[in-house]
Amino acid sequence: MNTVPLTHILFVSTALFFIGMYGLFTRRNLITMLMAIELMLNSVNINFVAFNKYLYPDKLNGVFFTLFIITIAAAEAAVAIAIVINLYRNHHSIDVEDTEDLKY
């Protein structure tokens, strides 16, 4: 059976991770940063699924982890967006550079 080798999949997930990281550091919009974080989470999900498939095909542990991460990502997105909304109400902005009040 001619399958895609594991390294290819890992390459995709790594690329995805660093794309997310790039987005996280370069964007100023909080929503965009949140989306970048979701990208990073999903790259991890791909890793779990791929390793599960290639290393332990008879087990489902990786898949379960993926499901958990998706659930948590959903909850996290809800919380994060709630914070962003509150921040907007107070600062009238969702720019990350306007939220530097919590410092020394």
């Binding site: 996280l24 550091f25 990350v96 550079e97 939220t99 009040d101 919590l102 410092k103 020394y104």
Partner: protein, 658 residues
Amino acid sequence: MPIDNCRLTIADSRFTTMNYSSYIAFIPLLPLAGFAILGLFGQKHFSRSAGIIGTLILLVSAVLALYTAYNYFFVTGKVNGAWQSITALKYTWLQFSPGMSIDMGILLDPASVMMIVVVTFVSLMVHIFSLGYMKGEERFATYYAFLSLFTFSMLGLVLSTNIFQIYIFWELVGVSSFLLIGFYYDRPSAVAAAKKAFIVTRFADLGFLIGILILAFYSQTLDFGILTQRLTDPSQPYAAQITGAGFMGASVLSWALTLVFIGGAGKSAMFPLHIWLPDAMEGPTPVSALIHAATMVVAGVYLVARLYAIYLTDLPVLQIITWTGALSALLAAFIACTQTDIKRVLAYSTISQIGYMLFALGVPSFGTPDNTGYTASLFHLFTHAFFKSLLFLGAGSVIHFVHNNEMGAMGGLKKWMPLTHITFLIACLAIAGVPPLSGFFSKEEILLAAWQHNKGIYYIGLITSGITAFYMFRLYFAVFHNRQHTYHNEHGEGGFSMKLPLTILAIAAVLAGFIPFSKYVSFGAGVENAVPISFSIAPVAMALAGILLAFVLYYKENEKPQQISTALGALYRTVYRKFYFDEIYLFITKKIIFNLVAKPAAWIDKHIVDGFMNLLAFATARFSERIKALQSGSVQAYALYFFGGILALAAVFIYWMK
């Protein structure tokens, strides 16, 4: 048969213990209750009735004490011709180890029973006197609360069963003395005097405490009875150990006993620790009568008497005590001649008389030790309590009338205060040792004991007794005769409450000498040390000479005293300035201790100890100043640190920990 006998004695003593334990604890505890009630609620609820309450409580206590004395001396105290030492009450307070505990108890023996009578009696007189003297005082209830506290502590002290209990109460009398000296706390001199009294006696008590610890360490007990038995019985290992061990050329026992005596000398205001007592006269006069004349200051004598059996095994220490006492007696008598404050004269006379008691205790150490000194000393303590408190209350009466302490402001008071005059005269005659007043008998016994053992001490005592007569009558003539002042006074001599104690104490001062004291209070088997008539000639002649001299100089207002003091010049000034003792102390503390010890210590504390702490705080502050910019508030910067950390960890795991 002996076994039977023994059992009988045990049963007997248990019976007597039961007999006493039903009421004995009330003697000290009633004043304590009085202190608690008056101290907590007095100022608010009993501001007028506090005096009556305190006096009634003490009356009950005094009656119980008298009943105890009757019970002890005439009913149960003597078994087979020897006075029993009865532990009427014992309560284990702090248990250290099976053999070692601090107990609270009540010990009855001739000395302690005599003391509770003296303490409660004099205290009762002072309570009654204060009803008039302190009337209208703002802190009237507090005053009575403090008096009750003092009475409680003093009773606890004399009834102590063990050396640690006596120490606890020793400090308690010190505190109550401090509180009462500083009673007029708005007067800076009173505050200073209170501090001085507390610090000087506390300093001496350090010696006492170390002495106690040494004795307890070597004898493995605190109880007086067991302690005495263990340290005086040469067949026991304890005695051999403590006398065998040496420290700086003297045995540890000598050190311990000397240290204990230093505590006693501090409390009894012996030279050179006497400096607090004259200043303590800043307190209300009745307080001086109670604490600084009749009871607390004789605690040192009582302490030595309590441990007398142990002291007798170490004669050099007793000789130190003798010389301290004799010197104090003589020097204080000299100083008393020059003072002009009526209370200070009495204070120095107190030091002098306590010196008498101490050298009487110590003098048998020269030659063959016997118990004549012990009886004579406690006899003098007994009679002195009456005539000296009478003198102080008389002085209080005079001060109440004149509103001044200085002898210069008095004179011719005889016709203004007839009763005070009579009682004061009686007390003066008693202290001068004129027969047949009480002071005569006790002083004769002391002088006889000194004569039998050490002639040098005897002559010091004899000269002192002449000077005593002189300065007491100088005081008497200057106050009641001499210059005739006119006084404008609305309250007169003082009410019934002030006259009654004077009268009762005067009667006591006359009659106390007729008690066959050695029959009741003696060390070991009581031996009547009969004073031959011919022996009395010299002391009485000395006393009469002193009185005569005082009469010549002070009966009528004249220039002679002034001329004599001018003629004596520097000598007079030295004595008037109390031999510069205060100045020496000030020099030692201010110039030497402050400069050589306190200031370097303060410098070390300020610069090294504090400096180290400041350095730590400074370094931390500077470091945090540098790195606080890392917490910038920028989320992306935090994320960068986070990923940086993960990268570093990854590197560690991949390259170093594979």
